[in-house]
Symmetry: C2
DNA sequence: TTGACGTATTCCGTTATGGGTATACGATTG
DNA sequence: CAATCGTATACCCATAACGGAATACGTCAA
């Protein structure tokens, strides 16, 4: 088996920085493809391909307007990511494992990669 | 260019479900590899390989204990993901897109947040 | 020492990515 | 109708993932 397809879920779709950029742009409102092309500095076909991936995981929706296609964001599929991260949030805000951290740093003097 | 390496950042590392499972298990505390192998029902080499990826993005740290290697979670690298998601959270809580919100709520009457 | 244990690494094959480039296709304009 | 615009798709290539299987390596026990 190879790596899971980018269209498997939002986790995979969003792993690509360009696609995150696209979502960020669409967060500001509906945009035609060429707008995104201009802002991203990418070639049009690549943008269309990224949009396809995002469409397949329903992170964006399209609307035809004459010869343009207006894309807009649908943040809903990001929810599972947020939900998964929830369990880890307290680990940043509180200090559960100060001791662990210290121990780790101590034992990292000889272990390397 | 091919897809970005899984070790590029937490986004990519965490796109793989198995690795998320591993982190979930480690969230409960330090564990030796064989523990993870048992819980995941995966072959040992695959687990070691996943752990390597997680190590390379610093999502886990290791500590040698005799012939075992105890892995523990380091949630810090997840932060950029959460930070990125931040901009989208309000889209669930507030109603940017009224129509979508209504539809979403209708289909979510049994789940809460 | 030898052997068993715990874990990491290597090699293989299959699959799909993402960029580049060319092109197809629908809608609009002249 | 032809030409053009806006966008999607088809191909090609280089890269690497993931699982499977075999094996290497360090540590501990007998």
């Amino acid at each position: 088996m190879a790596r899971a397809a980018t269209t498997t879920d939002a986790f995979n779709a969003v792993a690509e920085p360009r696609r995150r950029q696209i979502l960020d742009l669409l967060a500001q409102g509906e945009r035609p493809v060429n707008d995104l092309v201009a802002q991203l500095g990418l070639a049009q076909p690549q943008v269309s391909k990224h949009l396809r991936v995002l469409r397949e995981v329903d992170l964006v929706r399209v609307r035809d307007e004459g010869r343009q296609r207006l894309y807009r964001l649908n943040a809903e599929p990001l929810r599972p990511i947020r939900d998964w991260l929830r369990a880890y949030e307290q680990m940043w805000n509180e200090r559960f494992d100060l001791m662990d951290t210290i121990l780790t740093e101590l034992s990292e003097e000889d272990s390397d990669d």
